[in-house]
Structure formats: structure tokens, C-alpha cells
Symmetry: D2
Subunit: 382 residues, 4 copies
């Protein structure tokens, strides 16, 4: 596939995610973490315009100088920006105007990519692909939040299957004590936070071959898991009490029966589906109740060749920290990962919302421990 085709394929996939939406769905931001879909459309476009077209395009004419203010996410290097909580207050630019912006930038990019490009542009392009793919996943999960928190519970797509039933395997995978190598080793793209590849020393451990299910999680609820502080971190316990948490996000107890909001609408809870939309606090408490624990990200990476993964992000016990020798790129691109390396937890794997080809066994996703709107799951270790 030519570079242009690769570019357009990725760009079109973003738009295809929005196809089932009504214009109104593009606009709202019900919580700070969930951005309006139209903002994702504009921001990913702004990324190519700002980092490739403006510095490296030939006679490129900026589309609209105000858009830099509207669609910058957090790059302090690139100037002022709409504060994150205000994204849902902006009705303009309209959805149509943003699509026009996309097409304008897509054409300019296509024209640039049809010529020979420098290594520097190539590197930025690959980063742009990966950046857009990250936003594709956020777009999908943000849409789920927007629709799933509407009292009318609209269906996104009745064909969309979030879950497969799990055959729970009683045997655990055992890994022997020793020195292991961690981090990306290939020559393709990876994020800076996956480098450098380095050695870690692991003790003997065992890890489950399968994820936990709605059924096993419901056992935890029924056993009073949400009302016994012993299973929780102090901060997790405060979070439970302050927010009145009693079940995973999207679970609804309707007249004594559990339902689950999915892209296909509100459905009865299937006990064999993997449990998802739980916070790190909940994953930890569940593990404590089971007398087990979450794996570290290193244990996960070492063992992952031996189990299936990729349908759910898996909370690990590891904090999001730099690998030995980590250094960030100069300028705005260097703001990508490093500045978030405090107070977050690493998730490993990938989810049903992750674009194909975007996952990697060394991929390090990260979120604050209370967040639940991603497809987060639990794998236990010992």
C-alpha cells in the first residue's frame, strides 16, 4: 500500500467510527475525560497540520489560525489552548466545518506524501498514524460514554460485539525466577515509553491464562466486596464511598436483574463475558478478595506469549515510570509521554476498541487509577 493510501485508510477509519452518530452526539463532553467526537476529528487533523504541513509542507496555507487554539490538546509548546473542561461548550466550528478542515488537510497531506519525503517527515508521519489510532480508540470509548450515560440508552450499532464468552482455564502459567528483557526490541515504530529495552529480575510467579468474568466479579459484589474496606487501598475506599460505587460502570440493576450497556444497547449481563469498565481500585480490591494480586507490567510482558490477550486492557500493579535510559524528544513531540509519568498505572494488552495493528506486547497504556471508561479488565497473578 502506498503511503498516501496508508494515510487515507487510517484517516477514513476515524470517520467511519463516527458514521452511526447524529450531529448532536459529536458535541457533548459529559465528563472531563471524555472529549466531544468532533474535537477528536479536529485534533487529529491539527496534529498533521501543525507538526508536518506547517513546518514541512510546500507553500502550505494554514486552514484557520483560530483552530490552533481550539484543537491543541495539551502541547504547551504550541501555544494557548481551550481548557480541557471547556471542549463541550463549543458548538463551533460545526461538524461540517471540521470535516471540511479534515479534507483540506488530507489533500495537502496526500500531495505531500505523493512526493519523496525526508526521514524526519517519515518519522512524524508514523507518529501521526499512531496518534490517530490512539484517538480512534478514545473516540469509540468516548462515544460509548456519551450514549451510555444518556437516559434514553441509544444504540450505537446493533452489530457491534464487545464480548466473547470465556472458557475459564483452571491452570495457571508459571514463570521461573531470573533475569528477563523488557521493552521494545524491533525496528518498527514504538512509543518512546517502550524504550530502552532493559533487563529486570523477576521472582517465580504464576499468572492466569484467562481474564476474570462478569460472573466471578458478581461473586465479589455478592460477597460484600464494595462494603469491606479491608480489600481496598485507602484512596480506593474513599473513592467508593464518595462516589457511591457499587458495580462496574455501565452495569444497571433493573428490578433485581443486572443489565449492561453496550454499543448494541442495554443487554442482560452475560456471566461468561470478561468483566470490564472497572477502575484499578476495583481490580486491586477484587484481587485482594481472591487472595491473589495483579501482575506487574514486567511479569505481564514476559508471560504474555503464553496466553491470549488483546480484548481488554489489563490493569497491572506497576506505576507508569520511565524505563532506564528513557529520554524525551526535544520540542512539542517530547510532550507525548514523559510528562504523564506520575500518579498513573500501567495497563497492558489492547482492547476491542484498539485499531488492528496498533497493539504490541511491549505497549504501555496508562490511566489514573479511578478511571473506568476504557475497556479495562482483570488478570490475576500470584
Amino acid at each position: 500500500m502506498s503511503l498516501v493510501d496508508q494515510f487515507l485508510t487510517i484517516r477514513k477509519y476515524t470517520e467511519s467510527i463516527c458514521e452511526p452518530l447524529q450531529t448532536e452526539d459529536y458535541v457533548v463532553q459529559p465528563i472531563e475525560d471524555v472529549s466531544p467526537p468532533k474535537w477528536h476529528l479536529g485534533h487529529t487533523t491539527w496534529f498533521f497540520e501543525t507538526f508536518i504541513l506547517k513546518p514541512h509542507g510546500v507553500n502550505y496555507q494554514e486552514y484557520n489560525p483560530d483552530y490552533n487554539f481550539v484543537f491543541n490538546s495539551y502541547y504547551e509548546t504550541v501555544g494557548a489552548r481551550v481548557i480541557r473542561t471547556d471542549r463541550g461548550n463549543l458548538s463551533r466550528p460545526s461538524v461540517n466545518e471540521i470535516y471540511q478542515y479534515r479534507h483540506y488537510v488530507d489533500e495537502a497531506m496526500s500531495s505531500l506524501l505523493s512526493e519523496t519525503i525526508t526521514d524526519e517527515v517519515m518519522e512524524l508521519l508514523i507518529l501521526g498514524f499512531n496518534h490517530e489510532q490512539q484517538h480512534q480508540e478514545l473516540l469509540l470509548t468516548d462515544i460509548k460514554y456519551i450514549l451510555g450515560n444518556n437516559p434514553l440508552f441509544p444504540v450505537y450499532s446493533s452489530d457491534w460485539i464487545e464480548h466473547e464468552e470465556i472458557q475459564i482455564q483452571p491452570d495457571r502459567i508459571a514463570v521461573a525466577e531470573g533475569v528477563y528483557e523488557i521493552g521494545y526490541a524491533g525496528s518498527d515504530f514504538c512509543f518512546d515509553n517502550e524504550l530502552n529495552r532493559h533487563k529486570v529480575y523477576l521472582n517465580d510467579f504464576e499468572i492466569n491464562a484467562t481474564l476474570e468474568t462478569n460472573g466471578t466479579y458478581l461473586d465479589f459484589i455478592k460477597a460484600g466486596g464494595y462494603s469491606d474496606f479491608n480489600y481496598w487501598h485507602a484512596e480506593g475506599w474513599d473513592w467508593v464511598k464518595k462516589n457511591g460505587i457499587k458495580a462496574p460502570m455501565y452495569w444497571h440493576d433493573i428490578d433485581g436483574a443486572w443489565f449492561n450497556y453496550t454499543y448494541a444497547g442495554l443487554l442482560p449481563l452475560n456471566m461468561l463475558h470478561p468483566v470490564t469498565h472497572i477502575s484499578y481500585y476495583e481490580a486491586y480490591a477484587f484481587a485482594s478478595w481472591k487472595g491473589m494480586r495483579l501482575p506487574t507490567e514486567f511479569e505481564w510482558e514476559v508471560a504474555a506469549k503464553q496466553f491470549g490477550w488483546g480484548k481488554r486492557w489489563e490493569w497491572t500493579e506497576s506505576a507508569y515510570l520511565p524505563y532506564p535510559g528513557f529520554s524525551k524528544a526535544p520540542g512539542a513531540i517530547g510532550e507525548y509521554n514523559g510528562k504523564f509519568m506520575v500518579n498513573q498505572k500501567v495497563l497492558r494488552g489492547a482492547s476491542v476498541a484498539t485499531p488492528k495493528d496498533h497493539g504490541r506486547i511491549t505497549y504501555r497504556n496508562f490511566f489514573h487509577p479511578h478511571l473506568r471508561w476504557q475497556f479495562t479488565g482483570i488478570r490475576l497473578a500470584k
Copy 2:
């Protein structure tokens, strides 16, 4: 005009206000006080459905039971409701769905009104007319806020004239001490808060024939009005400092020149236009600086026959309190006014956003003292 025509005229005027909007503009709620336009469209419809069609319609079939939850504003009697701060988080029902809801209810109402109706229905109908007119004004001012706080400053309508130049008249109107009658005396519709008509004793006072202008207000700014606590209430001073207030809402100092956002876009500030979008705190501070004061609502009502009014709501010194003998109707309708009679200030007059025929010399509008998104102005007394 037949009752059906009257009804449809009012209903269509609401929709005509929305004509210049793009779909996205219907959705957002940038601050708690500003409701999304689509919510106004639904809520005014819900009012007729809930208070007239459901109790008094013949074989009326409720449009959608979920809408009661979505479009109830504050009527506790009528059940649970979306909390006010969440209105801007709901992308559904969509704008189209809400217009369909309007048309469904309009048809049912037209059919009801083409037959003879009871006095009770007639009374509710007139209340519904006035309720819809109040929301027409809010709709307009909420739209101004939504567009005027967007960094792109979109034009609502370039024909819309908010202001006329004022010929300041140096002479004041003098009113002699004595007993005066206050409150609505006619036999047409008035709100319950305008009753009972009653006597008040007024001292001698003088009141300006004209409103204050951007020019006189700018003098206050230049004289340091926003940085001298002496002119302010203690609460007003806290509000100024906490919010960094330095000018009326919608004023922008661009490279040393003052601009004003209006429905026709961002325009140079006209010094002869009446000053507007100021809080009660600012009106009070301005009056103190002038060595004058705001009139009470009673002084205003007595003097208003002698001056032109109706282009700006005018802050008064009066708190919003019940008139002697005030009593509220039983049930949900009784929640209309009485329960707001604490911690608010009375405004008298009407504004450019008030529908024709909706104003009255005895009309009592009321807002919290810090609010500025209405067309609020200043008339001084002594």
C-alpha cells in the same frame, strides 16, 4: 385571532428564534444558567403536554414517557428530573426528534383548542403562553451566551439591532411623597407575584429619565471603579476579585480599543448605547460612585409612566419578596414563582429580547445579584 392561531403564533415564534442556529448550537450548556436551545424547545412543549394535554386532553397519548425526565425543569411535584448542570451532556433526544415532539404536541393542542375549553384549561393555556414567552427571552439570551463565548465569535444575525443611541436627558423626574398603589390591577393575565395590588408609602424621590450608557460606565471603569472596594457590597467585592471582573460581560479590550459582542458579531463599543450585561453588584457600585442609588421596585413602578422603558431590564434595590396577601396556587403550578423569593433582586421593565406583549409595568423579573447574561441595565435615582 383564534385561540389555535394564537397558540401556533407563539409556538412558531420560538422556532423562528432558532432559525439562524446550526444543529450544534442547540446542544451546549457552557454555564449552569444557560440551557441548551434544544432543551428550551422540549421543555416548553413538555409544559403543555404535562399540564394541559395529559390531565385535560381527550384520549391523549403521551409522546414518550422518558421525556418527562429529560424536560422537567424544576417542578418537584412532577417527578425526577435531569439535574440542571447535566442538560448540556445529553445529545439525545436529537434536535429533529424534539421538533417532532413539538409538532405532535402542537397538533394535539390545536385539536383541543378547536373545541370549547373549560376555564381551568383556559387559565393553564394563558400561563403556558406566558411561560413560553419567558423561555423565548431566555432562549435568545442563552444563544447569545453560547455564541458570544465561542472563540470564533459567530454572528447570530447581522440584522439584529440590540441598541439604540440614547439622548441623555439632564432633568430628573420628581415624585412626591405619599401613598401609592402597587401591583397588577387589570383583568388580563399577570403572574401571581404581581398580586395583590396594595398600598406603599414612598418618600420624595427623583429618578433619571434615561438609562446609563456605555460611555458613562466607561468613566466608572477609568476612574478605577473595579479596584476601589468602597463602592461595592462586601459580597460584590468578593465576586469582583474571585472572578477577575473588569468590565461588563461581552466587552473585549482588543489592543486598547473596546469591542462589544452582539448578535451581529463583535463590534466597536458605541458610547451612546445603554450599558448592559452588568450584575446587580456592578449596578450598585456604579450608582455609589455617582453618589446616587438604584430605585426600589415601587419607585420604579410609580415613576415609569413618565419615562420610556422596555429596552433593558433595570436592576432595582428591592429584594424579590411576596406582596401582602401573596399566596401560591396548589400543585405544580404553585411552584412557579413563590419558591424563588429569597436571595434574588427584582428587575423591572423589559428588554430587546422580551417578546412583544409580554411586558407590563407591574412585571417583576428576578435574578441572583451576580448574574449578567440577561440584558440588564442601570437607571439611577436619588
Copy 3:
């Protein structure tokens, strides 16, 4: 009594209020409205030092320049001040140091007052007396809050009697429609907010000769008063729900029996005592439930000669607003009352905590409608 004796009598009464305290009780500020007793001791002293000794004393040497910062309450004219919420964070100056400060100022004042003083100083002195008396009342109620919100419920003084039993009188006092004079008319001291004396027009009204009791208030609670929004202002209802209010402050339901914290400790609730420590919201809701209303401050002033008052501040329906012709003094003294005339309610009468000779039939006390730590009560009108 000589002026010096008058001065020292008032000053000593303040200190006598603190006699039962332990040093620790002088220090804490459990809520913003409640100041630490040692702050009251210092602030009232600072008042005489700042407004009399420094401008009018002969060779007066300021005690400690830092104290101006620590003990200024809200006088913006007189410089920076410790923000109100921080008063309870200051362990120094210590209680002993503040008593030394008091004695230093008392001596300087005694020496000043033993000579002839100017009219200006005389006026400031009288204001200082009244200011100190106001703080004596606050001191007492703040002490009650500090002790009454301690889980050990310490006794302040077992001799202190807060309540007398009320003989409820079924007959109401009737007042005829007409013009009445309101405001202070004598030649002794009054606050600026009691002026000017002016005419008001009152409709016929009736007012109860006695206050409501714990017994009648308990009927309101038992009738579900705290769970029926119909009786409440919208803001009052929000306040009830947000704060989980279910009874007057200081009432405790212990194993099904009601107790009441008083200066004499936790005692069984006496049904014939006047109900107290209720907010305006509660007073209003109680009146609505009774099918009556609160009197206006004008009705109260006109009728008060015909009933006993002075044991409880009585919430009125009136907002705290300036009388016709009100003007504030120039400088810091002018900050005394005028700048609080927004968003507060007037209370009339006096309480068991009010110093003797401090009450007047024209006295206008004022608090925000949610406050309960003063001795506030209910008298109904119709």
C-alpha cells in the same frame, strides 16, 4: 457611672464570658462563621486602638504593628487582614499575650477618658461600646458552637439558663391597616441602619403573642416537614438535601429520645421551651406548613410593643435593605453596616446572649438565611 467605669464595665464583661473556658477553647474555629474566642478578645481591643487611640490618643504608642493584620475583621480601609477562614490556624498571639494587649489598651483608654474628650471621640467611643457588645453576643454563641460540636459535649456553665417555658397564648395581636413610622427616633445611640425614621404603609395583619416551641416544631418534623419540598424555598430545599438537615442545630436523637445541647450540657428536650437555632429556611418552611407566614420587620416593629420579646432573635420575611435616605459614614466606620445589605434577612428582637441595654425595638440584626448558630426563633403572622 463615669465614662472610664462604663468603659471598664463593658470590657470586663467580655472577659467574664471567657472565664469558664480552658485555654484550648480560645483557639479553634470549627466553621468560618465561628471565630476563635481569643480573636474576639483581640479584635474588640484593636477596634479601640485603631479608631480612637491611634488617631486621637496623646503620644499613644501602638502595641504591636503585626496585630493590625491579625485582628482586623473586614475593614478594607485599614489594610490587609487574615482571611476569615484562617483565624483558627493561628496559635499566636497566645491567650495571655492578648490579655496583655487588652490591659495595655484599657489603660491607655482609661487615661484618655479621664480627660475631657471631643464629640468625635465620644461618638467613636459609643460605637466601640456597641461594637464590643455585639461581639459579646457572638463570643457566647461561638463558644456554644465550639463546645456543642465537640464529641465530649463539655459543659460551659451548669447555671446558665437558656430557656424559659412558654405559655402559649391562642389569641393573636391584630394591627389595623395604615401608615406607620419605622426606625429609630430617639437621641441616644443607634446604628446607621436604623435610620432614617420613615413612613411605611401596612395592611391589616395579625401576629402571635408568643414564639413557637420545641413542641410545635417537633410536630412539624413528625409531619414530615423536612421531606416535603412544598414547604420550602427552592434554595432551602437544596440546603436541606445537601446538608442532610433533619432537626434544629444542637438537637440529638439518642436512641429515640431528643436531647438538646445547651450551655449547661446535653439535656432532654423541653417541649415548652422556644425552638431556637433554626435557619430562615426552616422558619419559612415551618410557617408554610402552619398555613401562616413570618412577619415583615415593619409589622414586627409596629406590633412589638404589644408582646414580650428579647429572648430569641426572630426571623422576619424582610430582606436587609437600606431605609430611605440611608447613607454611610465616610472611611472605615462607614463599612460597618451598609456593605452587607444584600442577600441577608433581617432578624428583630434580641436573645438570651444579647448584653443587657444593647437591645432596642428598632434594632436590625441580619444573617444569611442558612445560618443557625445564633439564638434564632419563630413568631408567626397572618
Copy 4:
């Protein structure tokens, strides 16, 4: 030394820390993290009463059942507790009453310890010693906060020397790549979070032999370190802007000269003293500006034999996480450490406020990244 003497020595040291205090200083809690000294006195006593005397004493009579509510810190197992932000609102029990409580418990403990005790009691006793020592350090730093944030800047003790001048050594200590053992290995007391001893793999690294000084930190300030987001975590940058941070806690810029509040009062800043009272965010930003980084806790533990430490807690890059095989004790004692293992950073070393014999090379202290009231310092690595 006999067990009784050991016990009393530790207990008396706590009281000796309070000797310079005035009664008022025992009471206040200016921020949530800083507890009133009298609370520390009571809480450490409650610890011995609750975990040793009540379960293991012979005929032990509880001193006062209410004290369990007042002096429990965070042990959910042991019942309700005063919420942490309310500790400074309690004037009772008084300081004297708490000293009486201490003496009562000390006598009961002495009597218990003069007999043979079981291994279980011995273990709890040692934990109680270490618990009291931890509170001795908090007591000292809380006192510094209470006095240092008072506008009068009272002296705690003019003899107290916080700082020694540092001879900066240009050479770094180099450690070779390889597997190292981490965690406590001896047979004396250690906290559960120091176990199990386990292997880690470290890359080559270099670490400074000396701490950073006020002088080097001032260079960072002068270079604009607080106004360039590039050096900061995103959360750190938000913290700087939201709180207006411009220098370490206790630094005061007075007319262009830097002063530092210490136990001996406000003194000119000594450029050769180690910088202290900085947050993790500041330590990280400083390291970024220097082109270096903070060490991990493992690097620190391996290298620490080769440099002097113990005068300042040193921020590490490590998050506070369980060691392999970590397990918490059952019951309330198990709440000691494990439940805090999220969102905190590890500090290594000890400080001038740490009691002698309380430090260890494997000791893991931990705080949230924004906290500054401890004696926190910076050692750089590469």
C-alpha cells in the same frame, strides 16, 4: 536498658519535643496534613492502649471510651473516627487531660512491661515504639508548619540547628550493572513494606555524593525554572500554576533578599545548606533542568553505603509499591502500610527530625508528590 526504661525513654522524648510549645500551639491544624500536637500525644497513647493494653493487659480499665473516637487515625477496623480535617476543631480533651491520659497509659504499660510478656506483645510493643517515633518526626514537622505559617514567625528553639553547610563534591559514585539485593535482611525490627528481600537488576548508573543546596536551587529559580513547563510533569505544572508556587516552602523574599523560616526563626538563606521543603514535582523539575534525574529507590539503597545520608529525606523516582511477596498482617495492624501503596512516591534516607535509631538503609518513607512540609531534599543521578 530495661523494656520499661526503653518504653519511658521513647515516651518522654515525645513530650520533650512539645516543651517549647505554648498551650495554644497544641491545638491548631492549619492544613489537613498537619495534625495538632495534642492529637499526636493522644493518638500515640491510644495506639498502646488499643493494641496492647485492652487486648493483653491484666484487668486494664479503659481510660475514656470517647477517646477511641477522638484519637483513632485511620484504622477502619477499630471503629468510627474524627475525620482528619476536623482534628483542629476540637478544643477538648485539653492538653492537660491528654497528658493525664498519657500518664495513665504509661503507668499501665510500665506495670505490664515489668512482668514477662509474650512474643505477640513484644512484637506489638516494638511496633508501638516505631509508631511513636514516626509520630515524633511528624510532631516536629507539624510544629514547624504551625509556627512557620504564623504571621508572627515565632521561634521554636534558638538552639535548634536544621542545617550543616555542604562541601559539594564534584565526583559521582558509579555503580556497575548487575543483580542486587534489596530489602531488609537483618533480624531486628523493620516495617512490613521493607520485605521481602529480593533481587533487582540495575543498569550502570552514577549518583551524586552530596545533596543539592539552596544555592544550586536558587540558580534554577533564577533560570526561570518555575515558569518553563518543559521541566515539569503535566500534573506538576498544574500544581505550580494553581498554587502560585515560586520557591520552596518557608522561603520568603523580603525586599529582594531571601529568608528561610527555621526552628530558630526567620534567618537569611544560607546558600551552602541543603535545599529542603520541596515537593517531588520540584525535585523532578530541578533534575530535568540539570539534565539529570532522581535515582530509583533501588539505586539509592545500593549506592547509599558510599555516601553520607540521614539529614534529609530524598525523593526518589520510584512509586510506592509492594515488594515481591509482600503480605499484610491480619487485622488493624495490617492497615499500617499496604493500603497506602498507590499514588505516592518513595523517599529514602532520614531527616534531622527523624529520631535517632529510627533510620535504616532499607527504610521506605512515602508521601504524595505535592507535599512539602517534611524535610525533603534532592540527590541527583544519571
